[in-house]
């Protein structure tokens, strides 16, 4: 009876071992993520009308064609060129601008364009905290589902901060980066900063000719530095920054309050002083940067197209502070005293406020053969950018707005931009093996490899492309010969949940592996040891509990042996 029980345990052990040995022979199958399980966005924003791409005339402003997936709103361009005071209410209503956002008056030098320019900017928070629900608002994605908290200078808007009553998405004027401002040499410019934010801010005009202070005190704005020049501009207050620039060039404007955090938060934009020309109506704001659909007279003289390229980077931890607290005092505490920028590292890398794949929507440089294209590049990250153009070597004509000696100008394919540096590049698309290698879809991106990631996920970051028209499809996307890009337009890709290599071949040989059926070898060993110990334990128990029987058996056996010995001896 006892022996039968013992044998049964042994048999069980044997069979389990056999099954497991078989299972460990076969590795798990590849698990394929179905496209239906993904939160996929349309590659082009369906709310943007296709008619915006066409060349058109609004309010007498001839706006260039822009074959991008997300072209700039042509009504906004018309308003930026004419000023919100010189357009019809109907046009204004298409822009969301406040009627006093851009005021243009007084042709002082009589050359056919207005010379008094007033630009009103508000300070807007994106992806901020609310005490009413978990989540952020108004939302602005730099890539699908990626929503770092940010602050921007935004043109003065009208109405709701969101797209509409039902949406928590920011309206199209409230976005990264702060808008590109264009003024003309000799203009009397007033930038009116209206602090709609809950923290103090100022404007510092970096590189733009501006007075330290207005001696007559008629406006308070100066250099924007609270420690040397002017007071903090508190919430609810406004301040005028007046200047009359004497030199042209690609410059910057940024907040100079706690600059180590406020600049990175997004309170920085490009300001371009254009050369004075007759009848030179400028596109005062280029919201979102990128293609300039109404270039200045001077640019039209020398170039076929013009693009504004604003590179920026963000440290995730800094941008989460405004999503952690609602109380401005706690935000100020973390920003000013707890956050240590010397321990920081950048996680998000943007071109014109967006990361790949959104850069494809609006920051492509669309080219044709034998063109001269002006690229104005600014780096507002805290580290340098090593911008590289595939298929092209461009010429650096200006550093920080100043023309480099034409004989000494350098043509190269990696352009180093220190923090806050601006370069003007001339991209020549002549196919000569030097300036251009011919038509195609040629990437341009930061060649510090982290710059082509979004929080470490590649492809991402500030990747965009020079795309020749021949390679552009009807909705303004590059007709790539490579992989399907739709999977990058999912939240799951950026949330690290999409094994993008699952579709490289039919078998999915580089997809995500599933789990083992049965036990994996480690658990199997553990169980085997456990079972072994258990059996030994039972044996020991049996020996102790039944020691009398055992002893009796043993004595019986020995006595038998003895008796047999005795028998033998006797015998």
């Amino acid at each position: 009876m006892r022996i039968r029980f013992f044998l049964a345990i042994l048999a069980l052990c044997g069979s389990v071992t056999a099954i497991n040995a078989q299972a460990s022979l076969k590795l798990p199958e590849t698990v394929k993520v179905s496209p239906a399980a993904l939160n996929t966005e349309p590659i082009c924003d369906p709310k943007i009308s296709a008619s915006w791409r066409k060349a058109q005339e609004i309010e007498g402003v001839k706006i260039r064609e822009s074959n991008l997936c997300s072209p700039d709103n042509p009504y906004l361009i018309a308003a930026a060129v004419k000023g919100t005071n010189n357009i019809s209410m109907a046009t204004l209503m298409e822009t969301n601008l406040s009627p006093d956002a851009i005021i243009k008056t007084d042709d002082i030098d009589g050359d056919g364009d207005p010379d008094r320019i007033t630009i009103k900017l508000e300070v807007v928070e994106l992806n901020g905290k609310t005490p009413d629900f978990e989540g952020v608002l108004p939302t602005f994605d730099i890539a699908p589902g990626v929503q770092p908290g940010a602050w921007v200078f935004a043109p003065k808007t009208s109405g709701m901060s969101t797209e509409n009553f039902e949406s928590i998405k920011a309206n199209s004027l409230l976005r990264l980066p702060s808008p590109v401002i264009r003024v003309e040499v000799g203009d009397i410019v007033q930038i009116v900063l209206e602090n709609t934010h809950y923290l103090p801010h100022t404007i510092h005009l970096h590189g733009v000719d501006h007075p330290f202070t207005h001696s007559d005190g008629h406006v308070a704005g100066g250099d924007g530095v609270p420690q040397t020049n002017e007071m903090f501009l508190m919430p609810g207050e406004s301040r005028v920054y007046e200047f009359q620039p004497r030199q042209s060039g690609t410059m910057l404007y940024h907040c100079h309050v706690q600059t180590h955090t406020h600049l990175a938060m997004g309170l920085v934009g490009m300001i371009i002083v254009e050369e004075n020309r007759p009848n030179n109506w400028l596109q005062t704001l280029n919201v979102g940067g990128g293609h300039v659909r109404y270039p200045s007279v001077a640019i039209q003289e020398d170039f076929d197209e013009e693009f504004d390229l604003h590179y920026h980077a963000m440290d995730k931890e800094l941008h989460e502070i405004i999503q952690k607290y609602n109380d401005p005092r706690l935000i100020a505490r973390d920003m000013n005293r707890l956050y240590d920028i010397t321990d920081a590292k950048e996680d998000y890398f943007t071109l014109n406020g967006l990361s790949f794949p959104y850069t494809l929507r609006e920051s492509l440089v669309i080219a044709e053969p034998d063109q001269k294209i002006k690229l104005r590049v600014a780096n507002t990250a805290s580290e340098m950018v090593a911008l590289h153009t595939h298929g092209h070597k461009a010429t650096i004509t200006h550093y920080d707005g100043i023309e480099h000696n034409p004989i000494a100008q350098i043509t190269r394919d990696v352009y180093a931009l220190a923090a806050a540096q601006r370069l003007d590049l001339t991209l020549n698309t002549t196919n000569d093996g030097l300036h251009s290698y011919g038509e195609g879809i040629w990437l341009f991106h930061d060649h510090r490899e982290k710059g082509i990631t979004t929080n470490g996920m590649n492809p991402g970051g500030n990747v965009s492309a020079i795309v020749y028209k021949k390679y552009l499809n009807e909705i303004g996307l590059p007709m790539g010969l490579g992989v399907d890009i739709s999977k990058y337009f999912t939240h799951e890709f950026h949330a690290r949940k999409l094994p993008i290599w699952q579709d490289l071949d039919e078998a999915g040989s580089l997809g995500a592996p599933g789990v083992r059926t049965g036990f994996d070898p480690e658990i199997q060993n553990t169980l085997f040891n456990l079972l072994g110990g258990f059996i030994v334990g039972i044996l020991i128990y049996l020996i102790i509990a039944k020691r009398q029987t055992a002893l009796a058996t043993i004595t019986g056996v020995t006595s038998k042996l003895r008796s047999s010995k005795g028998d033998k001896a006797n015998g």
Binding site: E125, T196, Y198
Partner: protein
């Protein structure tokens, strides 16, 4: 016994909850926002309105000489200056609500939406359309709402606010709102949840692009309801510019109104070891005597287990039997009454 301890736990819970609610509201001046405008509107507004008239006239006087740099020199306030930049534009007379027809040239009409060249909005205005639940207008009242950063000063942890956080009106009231922006930035008075057959998207909205007054009229339905009023500029509502209009007995309170209703999601506040005057004495070489140190440590909240916590513990120990007694007393009580 088990019942007793449960009861004590319940009591403690109620006390804690009460304390929390109090903590969220302790900054509020209740007398201020409990004002009933349907009664006080008369004399309240005659004063305010008067001051507003003067203010608007000032703006008009200056609007003529914008863009002349000589004029700028005479101005002390940068804010004023920015307002005078666009003198050529028609200004909306905020208090000039009786004469909208005359302004058609300058106003844009769109779904009952009026905007002038100053950016002043009136949306969802309703002078005469009765809600289906009302047979007549119960009363006509005027309410002045002031908006600005200065009204947030009495609510720590906020930045912008209205001068009041709650208004009470009778059902079917016809309300004329005078929205006075006292900041040099844009503010809005936006009401949600109104009947959509009368108000586009259920909204009534007034907006000022700067320090001006705008006036709009609307009629509330008969139902007891509480309507959200806020400024929709990014973070203005979150940082304090939020209020409610209570019609009749009102409905459910709107959350996160400064001093009135608690936040849904609360921040965590941690004590910081910030320098104090007493610490400064230490640094100056003037050492605290041990007795003073003991006393200050006793009341110092930053020490993990303070003297005050000890007192709390003692209080708890003393009170526990007391609670127990109350319960036993009740228990005795119940059979007697039964």
């Amino acid at each position: 016994m088990a019942k007793k301890s449960l009861f004590i736990a319940f009591l403690l819970g109620v006390i804690t909850l009460g304390a929390t609610a109090y903590a969220q509201q302790d900054t509020a001046d209740h007398s201020d926002h409990e004002m009933d405008h349907s009664e006080h509107s008369g004399h309240d507004h005659s004063e305010h309105d008067h001051s507003e008239h003067t203010m608007d006239h000032d703006e008009h006087d200056h609007s003529g000489h914008a863009h002349s740099s000589d004029d700028h020199k005479g101005m002390d306030h940068e804010h004023d200056h920015s307002m005078h930049m666009h003198g050529e534009h028609e200004m909306l007379h905020g208090d000039d609500h009786s004469d909208h027809a005359g302004h058609d040239d300058h106003h844009h009409h769109h779904d009952g939406h009026i905007m002038d060249h100053e950016g002043t909005h009136i949306m969802g205005q309703n002078f005469d359309k009765l809600p289906s639940s009302c047979s007549s207008i119960s009363e006509e009242i005027e309410i002045t709402v002031r908006a600005g950063a200065k009204y947030a000063k009495k609510f720590p942890g906020t930045t912008f606010a209205f001068d009041q956080q709650q208004w009470r009106v009778k059902p079917c009231s016809k309300i004329t709102w005078h929205f006075v922006n006292e900041d040099n930035v844009r503010h809005q008075f936006m009401m949600h949840g109104l009947p959509r057959y009368l108000y586009h998207l259920g909204m009534f909205h007034l907006e000022n692009t700067g320090p001006r007054t705008v006036t709009g009229t609307m009629i509330v339905p008969a139902a007891d309801e509480t309507y959200l009023v806020h400024c929709d500029i990014s973070q203005h509502m979150e940082k304090g510019m939020k209020a409610q209009l209570v019609v009749g007995n009102g409905g459910e309170d709107i959350p996160s109104i400064p001093g009135l209703t608690p936040y849904v999601i609360n921040d965590v506040y941690e004590a910081e070891d910030l320098p104090k005057v007493s610490d400064k004495d230490d640094a100056g070489g003037k050492k605290k005597d041990s007795f003073t140190k003991q006393i200050t440590d006793f009341f110092n909240d930053n020490v993990p287990f303070t003297g005050l916590a000890l007192i709390g513990l003692l209080f708890g120990l003393v009170c526990a039997p007391l609670f127990a007694k109350i319960i036993t007393f009740r228990k005795k009580d119940t059979p007697e009454t039964a």
